[in-house]
């Protein structure tokens, strides 16, 4: 446990070495959010309700999405691809802990620091622009949101981890990541609630991992946990299991292919 705490601390300290890069990254995240915030402000101009969401619910939705964006868009798994290509992945293998647990520890540090900044930024946006907010009063809903959030973090981590493992077979690791981020920026509900889409399209999306990143926890917070959410909840768990076994299988396969000289 101590070793993981040390790894966690080192990962946090690394952020303070590259302070300017980190501050600029946060600035970019705020700019990106302002576009979505004002787009919805303009759309709800003189409207009380649209697409089944009141003005208050929609602003709460996009603000929570912004908050959860730290969990979705920030990740250290991208480093792994580079480390596989240049052989530094050996450093993980030689340690007496599982690679997945080491990466998860680094990821937790990443989410903690980005999440903290995201909270400060989101609160600042609320204080400056004073959007109408919805506060959930049912304590059970908060528990369901928390569980869904943990599933969200696991799915997002495992998908990105899998994308990094491509590096065992090809140097072309950034293009698939680029495409992945395009998919999640538009299909994970980070710009709009997915249930405003036509019903058939929404149903198809429920079979993919995208709704389980940020949409599901936010939907639960806003509309409460209902029978209609049991299927999406079940599907999110199925995706965690599929991705976990797939990542183990691909890692083992990659290790058999891996060879490196000179370290």
């Amino acid at each position: 446990m101590n070793s993981f705490l040390t790894l966690f601390r080192i990962s946090l300290e690394q952020y303070f070495i590259y302070r300017l890069s980190f501050v600029l990254w946060r600035f970019r995240m705020v700019l990106n959010f302002l576009l979505i915030f004002f787009l919805w402000s303009a759309i709800y101009e003189n409207k009380v309700s649209l697409f089944g969401y009141s003005r208050q619910e929609m602003f709460t939705y996009i603000l929570i999405m912004n908050l959860l964006g730290a969990l979705l868009f920030s990740s250290r798994t991208g480093d792994l691809a580079g480390e596989i290509r240049d052989g530094k992945v050996i450093n993980y293998i030689m340690k007496p802990f599982s690679v997945l647990r080491q990466l998860l520890t680094k990821e937790a540090a990443d989410k903690l620091i980005n999440g903290s900044f995201q909270i400060v930024e989101t609160v600042s946006i609320i204080l400056i622009f004073k959007p109408p907010m919805f506060i959930q009063s049912d304590p059970f809903v908060y528990v369901a949101v928390l569980v869904s959030l943990c599933i969200n973090i696991l799915i997002s981590f495992l998908v990105l981890y899998l994308l990094s493992l491509i590096a065992f077979w090809t140097a072309e690791v950034w293009a698939p990541r680029f495409i992945y981020f395009i998919f999640i920026s538009l299909l994970s509900g980070s710009m709009y609630p997915l249930d405003i889409l036509p019903k058939s399209l929404y149903t198809i999306l429920l079979f993919t991992p995208f709704p389980y990143f940020n949409y599901l926890p936010t939907r639960i917070y806003l509309k409460g946990f209902s029978v209609s959410l049991i299927f999406p909840f079940f599907m999110s768990l199925v995706w965690v299991v599929i991705l976990y076994f797939l990542s183990r299988k691909i890692w083992n396969k990659g290790m058999k292919e891996f060879s490196f000289f000179g370290r």
């Binding site: 600029l24 970019r28 700019l31 787009l39 759309i43 072309e172």
Partner: protein, 256 residues
């Protein structure tokens, strides 16, 4: 001109060295555009207007944003590779050549992938233009003038990044911030509330770059604002060139 053609051919060959990566990035860019386009289309089909603009007018803003964004990437792609030239000392070799360094470091590496997307955007522009507005030759002329103004502004931003690259070796983040700042102009700048709207129009002149040309096309731009655009762009260009000359005086080779 011959030199520019030669450098462009070189960039074309470099881009297609890795076919799979090039194709995947192209697919990614295509998907991003289509997803976003459909999202705006779907939203506006339900709400009918956005900040007073109709569906077709809003799409015109979105398409022109993509034309500007892609063209600037196409022309100024070499700026993204500038840091390497500074840190490994190769910039020395460029500065002693008997042509202006901007030919190599500013416009010397156009990206052919962007050309493919540009054809798509121009096709959509031609389709949506008559749907959004009754075409007027005077407005088209103003649009073209303001589009040239936009590229001049973009050039000055890129020159500032080059100067910063020499002074601080920081290029990547500066470029990413430029891209994110311009992205606030994806849709008409009128969606932002004051004072943010004025900041995005005149201080970080995204409004001048992205929204004003389309407003001119729609006949919604006050002539006084056109003069303001020219003055701001001239000022930006002057400042960026001054900064470049200052950076050159401070430049020290890193190895070579």
């Amino acid at each position: 001109m011959t030199l520019l053609v030669l450098l462009s051919k070189n960039a074309l060959k470099t881009s297609f060295e890795n076919h799979v990566g090039a194709i995947l990035f192209l697919v990614g860019k295509f998907l991003r555009f289509i997803f976003y386009f459909l999202f705006v289309y779907y939203l506006l089909s339900n709400t009918k207007t956005l900040a007073g603009y109709t569906l077709n007018q809003t799409l015109l803003f979105f398409i022109v944003f993509n034309i500007v964004d892609t063209t600037t990437q196409l022309i100024f792609r070499e700026v993204y590779r500038f840091r390497t030239l500074v840190v490994n000392g190769e910039l020395d070799g460029i500065l002693i050549k008997p042509y202006h360094p901007f030919i190599r470091i500013l416009v010397g590496g156009p990206d052919p992938l962007d050309m493919v997307m540009l054809v798509l955007y121009c096709g959509l522009f031609a389709y949506f233009l008559p749907l959004a507005v009754s075409v007027d030759i005077g407005h088209i002329f103003l649009f073209l003038i303001l589009l040239i103004n936009t590229f001049m502004l973009a050039a000055s931003f890129h020159i500032v990044v080059l100067a910063l690259g020499i002074l601080t070796t920081e290029v990547d983040h500066a470029m990413m911030i430029y891209r994110d700042v311009t992205r606030v102009g994806t849709l008409p700048i009128d969606i932002y509330k004051e004072p943010l709207r004025s900041i995005f129009t005149f201080i970080l002149p995204v409004g001048i770059m992205m929204t004003f040309p389309v407003k001119a096309l729609l006949g919604m731009l006050d002539y006084r604002l056109i003069f303001a655009c020219v003055i701001i762009t001239s000022g930006m260009l002057l400042v960026s060139l001054r900064l470049w000359h200052y950076a050159l005086k401070k430049y020290q080779s890193w190895g070579g």
